[in-house]
Symmetry: C2
Subunit: 140 residues, 2 copies
DNA sequence: TAATACTTGACTATTTTAGTCGGGTATATA
DNA sequence: TATATACCCGACTAAAATAGTCAAGTATTA
C-alpha cells in the first residue's frame, strides 16, 4: 500500500503555499525549486486542483496560484479526490462472472475492504492543510 | 491507494481455509476453484505464507495446507507482512540529494505520512482471521 | 506405481505511474 | 506595445510495479 507521487506532491505543494500570505500568488516555478518537483508535473497537478476549486490561478507575470480557501478549511480528503487518488481496496469488478464481482454474492473479504476504505478515508477527512504547518521547526 | 492482489488473495485463501476443520489439509486446487484464483499464483503466495509460519504444508495426495495456528491468533498484519505488502506512504529516499531525503531535513509532509502508516497498520493489527468469519450468511 | 499436490526460480505480459513535450493563451510592467 | 512571465491543456513515452505463467522438479499416499 502506498501513495502515488501526485497526491504526495499535491499535499507538499499546497502546504508550501500555505506558508505565504493568502492572496499572494505563488508561482509553480518557485514551488518546483523549493520542493524539487518537476515544474511540468506540477502544472498537471495544479490544473486538477484548480478544477476542484482548491486553488485559483492568476495569470501573467508575477502571477501564480492562490489558495481559494483558508488552509483550515481544506481537508486532505478534498485534495486526494482532486488528483483522482481514490482509496479503493476492494478487488471486485462488476464485469467478472466468477469470483469477486461484488454483485449478488460478495466474497468473504468484501466487507473487510469496505471497512478499511472507510477507515482510511476517515484519516483524510479529519486532517486539514493547516494541521501540517503547526509542527515544530520546519526547514523546507 | 489500493491493495495488490497478492494480499487480497492471501486473505481470501486463508479465510477460505479457516472454514474447514483445523488439521484437515486443504488443497490449493480446491481454493483455486472456489475463489477463482489462479492455482499457480496461489502456489507462489502460499510459499510465502509457509515461510512465515502461517501455514504448514502436507505433501502427497490428499495433501494440502493447514493453518499453523488458530484463526483467532492470526492477525492480518502478519499476513500482509508475509506477502511483502508493506504500508509505506512516505516518499523520501535516502539517496536523493534534494527534496525528500528523510535524513537531516524532513520535508513538511513527512510526519503526516508516518502518522498515516501507523494508522493503517493499526487496522491490520487489530483484525484477525476469525473476525472475517463471523459475519452473517456467506456463500463463498 | 500412478496420481496428487507441494516446491522453486525464472520469465513475461500487462497495467500503472511518473513525468515530458509541444504548442498554446493571458497579463503585467518596462 | 514589446517582452517576459506564468498559467493552460492534450497527447505522448519511459520506467517500474504488478499479476500471472512456465518448466522442471520432489514427496507422499492409495
Ligand atoms: S472484494 Fe468485493 S466481492 Fe470480493
Ligand atoms: S516524505 Fe520524508 S522527507 Fe519528505
Amino acid at each position: 500500500m502506498k501513495l502515488n507521487t501526485k497526491s504526495r506532491y499535491a499535499v507538499m505543494a499546497l502546504a508550501d503555499m500555505s506558508k505565504f500570505p493568502i492572496n499572494n500568488p505563488v508561482s509553480l516555478r518557485d514551488i518546483s525549486l523549493r520542493q524539487s518537483i518537476s515544474l511540468l508535473y506540477l502544472e498537471q497537478i495544479f490544473l486538477k486542483l484548480k478544477k476542484n476549486e482548491i486553488v485559483k490561478s492568476v495569470r501573467g507575470s508575477n502571477g501564480g496560484y492562490v489558495l481559494k480557501r483558508n488552509p483550515k478549511n481544506i481537508k486532505l480528503s478534498e485534495i486526494f479526490q482532486a488528483v483522482d487518488q481514490k482509496v479503493k481496496t476492494v478487488g471486485c469488478k462488476k464485469d467478472s462472472k466468477k469470483g469477486c464481482n461484488g454483485k449478488s454474492v460478495k466474497c468473504i473479504t468484501h466487507e473487510l475492504w469496505d471497512e478499511l476504505d472507510i477507515y482510511i478515508n476517515n484519516f483524510f477527512e479529519n486532517k486539514n492543510l493547516s494541521d501540517l504547518l503547526m509542527t515544530k521547526e520546519r526547514k523546507n
